[in-house]
């Protein structure tokens, strides 16, 4: 059986890749994708910990479903926002949209 550590490694790698993508990419959609990866890293952690440490309950699976739902909702809201931003500014580059600069 694959040890828990392997799952955690994959999950951590996934999180770091997602974080890098979210921080380094210009496109807003890519940032969103990075965020999705980070979500899924967390989801994978939740499921892995459930399976190895607490297989009797349902907690891990419920967490996973809630995270999936949240991620889906977030993507829907995020994409709608980006479409609105694109229409308003003619671009979806995160760097160019800095209206809140102090």
């Amino acid at each position: 059986m694959i040890p828990l550590g392997a799952y955690l490694m994959v999950s951590a790698a996934l999180f770091v890749i997602g974080a890098f993508g979210a921080l380094a990419r210009k496109s807003a959609v890519a940032i969103l994708i990075g965020l999705e990866l980070m979500f899924n890293a967390a989801l994978l952690n939740a499921v892995a910990f459930w399976r190895y440490l607490h297989p009797q309950g349902f907690d891990g699976t419920v967490f996973a479903i809630v995270i999936l739902a949240v991620a889906a909702a977030e993507v829907a809201v995020g994409l709608a926002l980006f479409i609105a931003v694109y229409r308003r500014f003619g671009t979806a580059e995160a760097d160019e949209i800095a209206l809140l600069r102090g």
Binding site: A19, A22, L23, A24, I31, A94, D95, I97, A98, L99, L100, R101, G102
Partner: protein
Amino acid sequence: MTNELLLWLLPLPPLLAFALIVLFLNKSNKASHTVAILSVVLSWLGSMVLFLRALGIGAEALAEHPMHDSLVWLPGKTSLLRIGVYLDPLTAVTLFFVAWTIVMIFVYSVGYHNYGQPKGDHDEKGYPPHGATVEEHGHKHKVPSIEPMYARFFAFVSLFAFGMYLLVVSDNLLTLFAGWEIMGLCSFLLIGFWFKKESARAAAIKAFMTTRVGDVFMLLGIAYLYVATGSLAYTDVFNPEVLHQLAHSPAPVLGMSVAGFIGLLLFIGTVGKSAQWPLHVWLPDAMEGPTPVSAMIHAATMVSAGVYLIIRVFPLLHAAAEVPEFLSPMPIIAFIGAFTALFAATIAVAQNDIKRVLAYSTISQLGYMVAAVGIGAYVAAAFHLVTHAFFKALLFLGSGSVIHGMEHGVLHTGERIDPQNMYNMGGLRRKMPITFWTFLIGGFALAGFPVVTAGFWSKDEILGEAFAGHHMGVFWTLAVAALLTAFYTMRQITLTFLGEPRTEAAKHAHETPWTMTVPLMVLSVFAVGYGWVGVPKYFPVLGGLLPHWFQEWVGAVFHLYVKEEQAVSHSLVPLLVSILVSLGGLALGYVVYRGVTRADQPDPLARPLGPIFTLLKNKYYFDELYAFLFVRPAYWLAEVFTFRWLDRTVIDGILHAVARLSWNLGQFLRNYIDLPLINGFGDALGEGAKGFGRLFRAIQSGRVQHYMLVALAHVVAFLMLVYYYATMS
């Protein structure tokens, strides 16, 4: 109407007229003079009714039971202050001449102020009328114009008439003083009637200030009398017991009794009001007022009030003189009176202004009366008071008529001369016959022309009393003054009416309207006839033909207080002296002045008298002396001491110091408390917030990825912290 009610009502019509004119009628000249004259005629009527009723009662009975009524006015500390009306024989004769002269002067004023004449070309309020141009028979010429403040004049003289009536009918010294001061005010207002003339203003102020000196002393006398007796009513004060007590208690000063000291203080009031030396300076300057005012206030009534007062308080003076251990005020009064009589007569000799001569003659004649009171001859004083009021009013009105006629001539010819200077006149007897004859009567009365004129009898009586009482100093002083009086009177008549006209204006002078001449004629009747009520019994031929009514009548007033004078053997010396000086003076005046033919001729006396004449002409330099002694120091006090030093330096200095102190305190608070502490705190708060914001705005890049990076960094840091602590424990 009862006598007392009538007495109460007597002063009121002129007051009412004053109020009506001031409040409602001042726009209408006709209504103003109608109401004013109507009011004084009413008062005149009342006075005559009272006078006749008084005659009916008889002197002795009236003196013992005078008409008297009073009511409570103010409650005092221990007694009630009552005011009321009082009529005894002295009041009756005073009322008689006051009523007549006032009515005559009111009627005269209508003509004098050119009622019925056109409005002046460029007359303005505050200046005498300058004349109007009218077109008649195709050519223009100038005629006198109506006084611009016609209604105001009648308002003032009505108020004045009220004051005089109030003074005469009052039964106490307080309301007498009120009337006295009302007249003082009116005198001020009327002397300064043409208030845009500098000289009129100065004269008004001078008159007011000078009489005020006397009035202050008089008020002190009244106050002292009230303190000493608790009453001011004649009936209470002139009670033999009260007088006895007053005369025997010593006053704190001058070694006088209380009675004598009060008498002296009241007499100083007389000195001011009746223009006696040394307070005589205001009266000649008062001639700046319109001539009816000079006649009424400064000859017939107001200046008489002073003599009336001193006769009124005669019992007090007499009581004081009776007690030998105290100094008596009587010699002082006699001295001032006699001195003034001579002193003013000498000045009158050298004056050229027709009204000024009369002014000095008034001072001189008032001196006669005061001297008469001073030697105890109060009846003679009262007699001269009445006759003088008539003939001096007549003379003043006559001089006003002359001036009026001359002004007419001046306007007609356009000559630039002084219409009041007698040297510019001459020959007016043909142009102004009524004025001439009446003036002659008045002048002869003043000079004491024997037998026919009133002035002779009254003056003779004073001289006779002085001689009989062995007051030789007074007698000879007054005799010399009488000589001078006759001399300057004739000088005036000669220069004004006799000879030939010396200027074009005098050639074109003409008689004044009937409103002016009728009063002259009425007054001249009294100037002659009033003497006949006082013919002494010892007078050759005439004596005893007519009863010596005046002596009985006024003499009765003080019988209660004044012991009957010792029966003196009447000598004919004073009589002869009085005839001699009168005729001599008149003849001398004519002889000296009939030769004046040119207006610019020097006075015939100027050369023989030399520097003395200059001294007389300049009135002994009294004006200059007073200017040096009082006026300039007063100005100095006001300007240098009070204004510059006290006000500017001391008071302003204190104020400025206080101001500077507060300013400095404010500066200190501002610089060291408010600015650094309070403002600093507030500013620091604001600036701190601002700086903080400025510092932290740098991290607000607006880029979402920066935020995420920062968040991540913090999360990592936080986790590391948690891990560190977890492994430590």
